[in-house]
């Protein structure tokens, strides 16, 4: 039996193609995945992401606990309302999950973790907490509905649909959040566009969803979410990274704070690490579609694509690939697709940000 979000009936009503996504019945698209992708780049789209889990971490020891549990340092969150992207590492420096943590008030934090890893994350965090005996309680918030409203027009459409949120959220800078009554509003996302992520009581989910649609926001499925995040150069947990790789091997060294003497899970392993591989972007120079798990032949040895797709904004295929660390942007590599080698160019992600293509066009051959 698949788990359902509070919006399952709303998705069915819109004729969504529903699929099993990590044990959750989620909309893949509502007709055309490519059309939904363009709506987010050019206007505004809304994604039901209630399969993800919000965790509230509260108590006198909450900050000390999170400073130990996360590879990025929540000490950077000087004022309530600020957000930080961070990895949860095991002692070997392998990535257990990636998350966004919000500082919501003195002694209070909210982390949003991936659906597929939520139970494992919770068990890991509880084991760290009890080992350290930090005065912090971790509360999973399955009672919340999570919506991502994304696109250049997203914020204006949210205010149109939910005027009561305007005053609290109008002044929010990117990567900041505010609580407005029972609705949590964060200026964050997973598409490379502006927008809000909302957390609200499940009982209000349908009303808010329909208000957003009436304000001109397009319903978008997980298919478009995947092509948008790939163009934005954002990793997908379980695909581009997992417990077998470190942040440095996942283009996430910038999220690890090794300054100072702060102890955190995985630190000792990372300090000894000499990364042999790195995660880069690829743009296919020929016709075809890159997919995950294709062999990448470089001048320094073979690598492997971790995510690949047709990129609707670029009109060609792109990928993320883990390759030997010597490979660098501008290199030409070859990707094996159905026993043929096709040329691709190594680039630095992101490919697209705020509607703009950031990688140079590649010449087409054949």
């Amino acid at each position: 039996m698949l788990r359902q979000t509070p919006l399952n009936a709303a998705h069915r009503g819109l004729g969504a193609r529903l699929v099993d996504f990590g044990g959750w019945e989620m909309p893949l698209h509502y007709g055309s995945q490519i059309e939904e992708h363009h709506r987010v780049r050019r206007g505004a789209g809304v994604f039901d992401v209630s399969h993800m889990l919000a965790l509230d971490i509260a108590g006198r020891g909450a900050r000390a606990f999170l400073r130990y549990a996360l590879a990025n340092d929540v000490e950077r969150l000087k004022f309530p309302g600020r957000a930080l992207y961070a990895c949860l590492l095991n002692e070997a420096g392998g990535i257990l999950d990636d998350l966004i943590v919000y500082f919501t008030g003195e002694g209070r934090y909210r982390a949003v973790v991936n659906a597929g890893t939520a139970d494992k994350d919770l068990a890991w965090l509880e084991s760290l907490r009890s080992r350290r005996s930090d005065a912090a309680a971790i509360e999973p918030r399955r009672d919340l509905c999570l919506l991502a409203v994304q696109g250049p027009d997203a914020r204006a459409r949210v205010w149109q649909a939910l005027p009561e949120l305007r005053a609290a959220s109008e002044g929010l800078a990117p990567f900041h959040a505010a609580e407005c009554g029972e609705v949590f509003v964060a200026r964050t996302g997973y598409t490379g566009e502006d927008g809000f992520e909302l957390a609200l009581p499940a009982a209000r989910a349908e009303a808010v969803w329909h208000a957003l649609l009436r304000a001109g926001v397009s319903p978008c499925g997980l298919g478009a979410r995947d092509t948008l995040r790939l163009e934005a150069g954002m990793n997908l947990y379980g695909q581009d990274m997992d417990e077998t790789v470190t942040p440095a091997e996942s283009n996430l060294a910038w999220t690890v704070d090794l300054s100072g003497a702060r102890e955190f899970a995985g630190r000792q392993a990372l300090e000894k690490e000499r990364p042999q591989r790195r995660l880069v972007g690829l743009v296919l120079a020929e016709r075809g579609v890159l997919r995950a798990h294709q062999r990448v032949a470089t001048a320094y040895g073979d690598g492997l694509t971790t995510s690949g797709s047709f990129a609707p904004t670029l009109g060609r295929s792109i990928a993320l690939a883990r390759v030997p660390a010597q490979a660098s942007a501008g290199d030409t590599v070859q990707v094996e697709i159905r026993e043929r080698l096709l040329r691709a160019r190594v680039v630095r992600p992101p490919f697209v940000r705020n509607g703009r293509i950031l990688v140079e066009p590649v010449e087409e051959s054949k």
Partner: protein
């Protein structure tokens, strides 16, 4: 289900149309395009290639997946639909107009073993149960 009665079908979701010149046009069914979603790339077989019935001969890729296309009957590839290189989405828009390749059949009797619309509909319904 949109299944023209004048076409033949395979269990692997290809359609076959007998053309006036004796060749067979091959494409994928409306059901197949709907399952695949937005189609972004078609890799046709090479003209002149001789195919055994059931041979993998082409690939249709959507945003989410790649699907192999099988030769419904044996024969020689005599033409491919070049328009699909720049407009692969025409398969989504008109699955029965957007042929992928044409075959000169090797054995005319094999055509009789293909499914009619009603039999193909039962294949699809059985798979959905």
């Amino acid at each position: 289900m949109n299944l023209p009665a004048d076409l033949k079908y395979s269990k692997t979701h290809e359609w076959v149309r007998a053309e006036a010149d004796g060749t067979l046009s091959v494409g994928i069914t409306d059901h197949a395009q709907e399952m695949l979603g937005d189609i972004v790339f078609v890799e046709p077989p090479e003209v002149g290639r001789k195919l055994a019935a059931g041979a993998e001969c082409a690939v249709v890729e959507s945003v989410k997946a790649a699907a192999d296309i099988y030769a419904p009957v044996s024969g020689e590839v005599v033409a491919v639909n070049a328009a699909l290189a720049d407009a692969p989405q025409s398969i989504n828009q008109d699955a029965y107009g957007a042929w992928i390749f044409r075959l000169k059949p090797g054995n005319a009797e094999e055509i009789g073993s293909l499914l009619d619309a009603a039999a193909y509909a039962r294949v699809v319904e059985a798979a959905e149960k």
